[in-house]
């Protein structure tokens, strides 16, 4: 082999504490190294050109660059060696900046360490081999999971981009959390007026197939070629016939189950259309409370239905869809505030969540837009808002900021004053977080124009006194304890991952973080990608987000999908596991441990079982390589021999000792 070594000064970043020329000179003694030099900025255009030139002049077939972390520039240099005519995997990097020059103070120790890291890279490179990507065709169809505002945006953008879209929504209607909101900050425009047209677009777009009351049952395949099974849950209404006239809803005698769309503030009929703007505007039966389905008598809806679309016998239906890419937009759920004993754990009816309050404010809500408190229906005069309920609190395992609560609390304080001019709002807060366009101004308006009293401090307890609730908290600015008698307490509950997100993540092989939010590929540079190729994230399933951010991500995910599916053929990462069938004994242990289902059992021509890697599914983690006792399955580019070469370079085994 002919290896070239390039030691980067990175200006003074490396050269300040590492003797780069001396490292380059030492590298020349390493086996197979035929060229070694130091360079000012390896990643700069002249730096890259010098590498390319050296490859050509010195006839190199492998390159080592010692510079910054490979997490920064590995791709850059791989492209450079590719331009020089080498395979991109005939390249190794030694991290002598983040791991050497920036952390060690002593120059000679740093220099020695840098030389050893280069040696490690050389020994690994000596065992590298060119890897070629495989090419394969893709299915030009997109699955969007979740019909909230992020999913709606992603679906519309993909459909407008010419791709077929299948949108799957768990609830009866799309719209998500946004559909439940009365107004949106900071413009205080009507939420459903903004969202409604987009929902209609979904229903009418020729490229979009919408499945509501549906969930993803299973996902197989890989980027470009996923096989998805969708479970369409029985609605007991034939939606091909239902006109959404609502007659059945009016006549339904069973109104015993809480209405989830109205956040359980009121009950809903057993056959229902959740809200006037629902898409699709179709009725569905709640099987757990329907008299016909639970007790076998009633059937009033079937009798009144003008198109005879009620079907009590209807069963769940499984639909298979082949797609090339998947957008996950499953949103968030509200933190269960009952974990806070100091807020009464549900003993006090007039302690409600912010989303419940939204429904009280909404003209389509249970009170027709009149604020009436749940206990006695009275109009509250003193409304206390408590922020950070389930946000920024380690004690309930929610150390993160939910991001949007400060803003909607300000909005609700404003709306309270609009609805009840003689009311007084109090807001207990920790910090105001309003970093958005017109956001801080909006909070100021709540305080200054609408007279909301902001108290900086946590609430220690709520207790009833007479028909009021006394909210006791700290006012940390005044340094005192305050007690506010309240008619209604609204908890600004934080966001947590959507129920079922972890299970869905398992099906999609997208890892959730410790709070159940899906992990993006890179927090800055790949915010909507996941580590499973072809699966993208949009909206609050990745972390709490407000509406503009969710819409932005929906579009971003859509653009990634469109970019992906615009290619006629895709290439798979060749740094995947590979089975040496001559060594494989077919024990199947690798199949058992692969988290991606990327290994299957095949039979060789003698009928012996062997493992085989599905290149396009394998993500390159290497769990199988450690599992295989024969070392028959090796993760390319991180083979046993490559890693052992690095170990041996660092710790040369004792040789030349003959004891007999």
């Amino acid at each position: 082999m002919r290896i070239g070594v390039f030691i980067c000064h990175c200006g003074s970043n490396i050269a300040g504490t590492v003797d780069c020329p001396s490292v380059a000179a030492t590298a020349l003694t390493y086996p197979d190294v035929v060229f070694s030099t130091d360079t000012m900025y390896a990643c700069s255009e002249p730096g890259q050109d010098a590498i390319i030139q050296a490859v050509k002049d010195k006839n190199l077939d492998g390159v080592v660059v010692a510079s910054c972390t490979p997490r920064m520039h590995e791709q850059t240099f791989r492209r450079a060696v590719e331009r020089a005519g080498l395979n991109r995997y005939m390249f190794e990097m030694a991290n002598i900046r983040e791991h050497v020059s920036w952390i060690g103070k002593t120059k000679d120790l740093n220099t020695g360490k840098a030389a050893e890291l280069v040696r490690m890279a050389v020994e690994k490179l000596r065992r590298n081999r060119p890897l070629m990507a495989k090419r394969f065709e893709t299915t030009k169809r997109v699955l969007v999971i979740g019909g909230g505002v992020a999913g709606i945006q992603a679906a519309l953008d993909c459909a407008d981009g010419g791709q077929e879209v299948v949108l799957v929504e768990r609830e009866q209607s799309i719209g998500g959390k946004m559909a439940k909101l009365d107004k949106t900050f900071p413009t205080v425009d009507c939420s459903s007026c903004v969202l409604g047209p987009k929902m209609v677009d979904i229903a009418q777009h020729p490229n979009i197939t919408l499945y509501t009351c549906a969930e993803v049952e299973s996902v197989g395949g890989y980027v470009g070629n996923f096989q998805v099974t969708v479970r369409r849950k029985a609605t007991h209404v034939d939606w091909t016939k239902c006109t959404g006239c609502g007659l059945c809803v009016e006549k339904c005698p069973s109104r015993k189950h809480p209405d989830p769309f109205n956040e359980n503030l009121c009950n809903a009929p057993s056959i229902n259309i959740p809200f006037p703007q629902a898409i699709p505007k179709k009725a569905a039966i709640n099987a757990s409370s329907c008299l016909m389905l639970t007790k076998g008598k009633c059937g009033l809806c079937a009798k009144v239905c003008p198109v005879k679309c009620i079907d009590f016998e209807q069963k769940d239906e499984l639909v298979n869809v082949d797609v090339g890419a998947i957008v996950v937009a499953t949103g968030y759920d509200l933190f269960d505030w009952h974990k806070y004993p100091q807020y009464g754990e549900g003993r006090y009816k007039d302690v409600i969540t912010s989303l419940q309050y939204e429904r009280l404010l909404s003209a389509s809500g249970p009170t027709g837009g009149h604020i009436k408190r749940p206990s006695d229906g009275k109009e509250p005069k003193n409304v206390v808002f408590i922020q950070c309920v389930g946000s920024r609190d380690k004690s309930v395992n929610r150390p993160y900021c939910s991001g949007f609560c400060c803003m909607y609390t300000a909005k609700q304080a404003i709306l309270t004053k609009d609805h009840i001019p003689d009311s007084q709002s109090y807001v207990f807060y920790m910090d105001i977080r309003s970093p958005g366009k017109l956001y801080d101004e909006f909070v100021r308006r709540a305080m200054e124009e609408y007279g909301a009293q902001y108290v900086r401090g946590r609430v220690a307890m709520i207790y009833p006194k007479g028909d009021k609730l006394v909210v006791r908290g700290a006012d940390t600015l005044a340094g005192t304890q305050v007690e506010v008698p309240a008619d209604l307490v609204v908890l600004a509950v934080g966001a947590e991952s959507a129920k079922g997100a972890v299970q869905l993540g398992e099906k999609l092989r997208v890892a959730p973080d410790q709070y159940g939010f899906f992990v993006e590929s890179h927090p800055k540079l790949k915010p909507v990608e996941t580590n499973t190729a072809g699966v993208f994230l949009a909206g609050a399933c990745q972390g709490p987000k407000d509406i503009p951010a969710s819409v932005g991500q929906g579009s971003a995910a859509a653009s990634k999908v469109l970019g992906l599916l615009s290619k006629a053929m895709l290439e798979s990462d060749p740094a995947v596991s590979r089975v040496n069938p001559a060594r494989c004994v077919g024990c199947g242990k690798c199949i058992q441990t692969c988290p991606f289902g990327a290994i299957k059992e095949i039979q060789d021509r003698f009928g012996n079982p062997k493992a085989e890697v599905i290149d396009t599914v394998c993500q390159g983690c290497g769990i199988c390589t450690v599992t295989c006792p024969q070392g028959a399955i090796q993760l390319e580019h991180f083979t046993d021999n490559q890693i052992l070469a690095e170990v041996n370079a660092l710790c040369p085994p004792k040789m030349f000792a003959n004891f007999e």
Partner: protein, 294 residues
Amino acid sequence: MLKVAYYPGCSGQGTSLEYDTSTRAVCKALDVELMDIPDWSCCGSSPAHTVNHVLSAALSARNLAQVEAMGMTKAATPCPSCLTNLRTASHKMDDPEFKDKVNALLDVPCKNSVDTQSVLQVLAENVDPELIKGKVVKPLTGIKIACYYGCIMNRPPEVMRFDHHENPMAMDNLMALLGAEVVPFPLKVECCGASYGIPRGDIVATLSGKLLDASRDVGADAIVTACPLCQMNLDLRQGQINDALRENFRIPVFYYTQLLGYALGIDRAELGFEKLCVDPRLALGRIKQPQQAM
């Protein structure tokens, strides 16, 4: 028969003598044997821990070592203040370094093997409610009771490890078992002012006054408590509170053991109702007499 080492605490020797005697009486009636700790001494409450944690813990540890010498691992005390000190000492001694410091002060080292509980916890967790129910001869039917736990019986939760720290229910459940109507008392873990009674009577008047006010609001005939200091502030100082707040509270404040003993038909002499400052007769009079003796 359940045996626990018994730490009466100093209040039980004086201001809350009736708590001690009624506790002993009900435990006996419920087959819980209280074994007096020989030569017990002050637990360190209340001032010691404000001065020096090690010395304070040493006072408690001495008593715990006495329990260990009895060959027992479980101790009980009626007083939440003692309980706090004993349990805090144990909790801190989980750190071996702290334990060594404490033991350096003791003649007999403490192994820290004793679990101290309140007598209330022992009764709530170790005595079958059905057994209690079966032994009730005078159900408390007719009386409305607010259960007041005080601020330290259940807190801090990681030390006390008993019941809910914001909304404890052990006493509520016990009183309900005896037939009383237990009214939801929102301030059941609020502070009564505690030992501010001596230096700052005004604070006690405000805080305890609020408690009395809340109990009146919820319609309680009486308050039941498990703490000598709470009882004293609410009962003994009720007159002072009335003076300070221009109120006219007349709410008797029982130890839960007194009402428990009453329901179990224990000799009233052992229950010490006569020691209460606010006359309990009106409240007790609300208890409907059993229709007929069986």
